[in-house]
Amino acid sequence: MRTNHRVRVLAASVAALASLPMSRVPIAGAQTETEVVVERARPQREKHSTLQFLKQNRDFIRYRYDRLRQKMVAGRGDAGPIDPRYLAYSRMLAGVLAANDSIAAADDSRQSQLLLASITDLGGLEAQLDQMDRTLAEQRNRLGILQEDFTGHQETALIVVLSGDPGQAALDSFTFTLEDGAKVEVAVTEEQRESLRHGGALQVFHGFVEPREQVFEVAFGGAGWPAGDAGFVTLAPERNRITLLRLDLTGARPAGGAAGVRARTWLHDTGPAPRDG
């Protein structure tokens, strides 16, 4: 869970927090949605230990590493290999420029050919259109490569949204806490409450999370919500996918606390567009 990234993402989310229409919140098919329980108490989990040898012998191992750091070591300063993709990008760019030139030349030629009403020129025109088709196909191929290189790899992420009309429940703030203690607090404005009443949704968290079962803490603030109250949601975000969690405030009763809020989760598909041609 990269805090810096989270803060950046959250800042963007909060800035754009104003009324995200429900239709823009990515919702998968109903068959993939799962209801999750917001529990009143943090679920107890079985305790396991890890790296026992390291922990039992940490003083010795740390001593060895300290000794190692003091030792002069002849190191090599070789430069690393250049990623071949970066070399390919310049060739792709040259291809794009060449394609532009040929399209421009073909366009000029076509303009002049428009003046010629000869039937025999139609064959040449067709050949030029074929060439433009090929150029477009090559361009789509280049875009596909760039998309795979830069957007194809989805890391494990979680998006949390609030939705539903909170009715008389005066929701002023929302707090989302990850298992490692990282906390995100969002103030909810009157404009945003109004948006919720009209079917909008508020994105309150979007960040990287570990692909494992973990407990997230949710807390609502405002008049009527019990002070210090929190609910606990257990999720197992799937690796390299975006998991969405929707907390539905419809009919929420502040007196019942966060555990009275309905929650649903689903996976969002964001695979790259299929490569053309």
């Binding site: 990269r2 790296l51 026992q52 570990e210 079962e213």
Partner: protein, 197 residues
């Protein structure tokens, strides 16, 4: 061999025959956790998942240490491996324990531990253990009633030379003799050295 049974014992046998499997099945259903076996695997099989989690935690996380979290089999597999990553940006270590293709637990290492990264080129635990058995492990276990205890992959801590590559350290213990340590080069499965301690 003739077997004599009284009518009552035959009746009991006829009754017990279908009932015993049913009871066993019911007992197994009643205690699914206790009956469940966790399949063993070699260290590299859990690395991808642990790395994915580590990079969610910190973009600059690097693998610095691996250790078996549950008893090892003789082929270098265990149902649970622990992977330790270090983030220079966070100045912290975080461990992931992988079992059944899931991260069973994650925790920040409650100590400062700045080990060099082990890199990506290393032989798996099975090959390392095979070399350790052959070099000294078999003799030690036979002579001292010893057993395989621990496998660690790291770089530097037990090495006095050839520090640029990682090494497996295989530890055999015995109730009657000092433990046997076998260090196996993680590049080529060559046994670098053995010692007792």
């Amino acid at each position: 061999m003739n077997e004599h049974r009284s009518p009552s014992s035959r009746a009991a046998h006829r009754f017990a025959a279908p009932v015993v499997p049913v009871l066993a099945a019911l007992l197994a259903m009643a205690t699914p956790g206790a009956a469940r076996e966790h399949p063993p695997f070699e260290a590299r099989a859990g690395l991808e998942l642990a790395s994915a989690a580590a990079h969610s935690w910190a973009a600059d996380a690097v693998l610095i240490y691996i250790e078996n979290d549950e008893p090892l089999g003789s082929a270098g597999s265990t149902p649970r491996w622990g992977y330790l990553f270090h983030s220079a940006e966070r100045d912290q270590g975080r461990a992931y324990s992988v079992r059944d293709g899931n991260i069973l637990m994650a925790e920040n290492l409650p100590m400062r531990f700045e080990a060099p990264p082990v890199g990506s080129q290393w032989i798996d635990s099975g090959a390392a253990l095979a070399a350790a058995w052959q070099a000294a492990g078999h003799d030690f276990c036979r002579d001292h009633g010893g057993q395989l205890s621990t496998m660690l992959l790291m770089r530097g801590a037990f090495q006095d030379e050839d520090l640029e590559s990682a090494a497996w350290t295989v530890i055999f213990t015995s109730p009657s003799a000092p433990s046997l340590f076998v260090m196996v080069d993680a590049d080529d499965a060559r046994v670098r050295r053995t010692w007792r301690g």
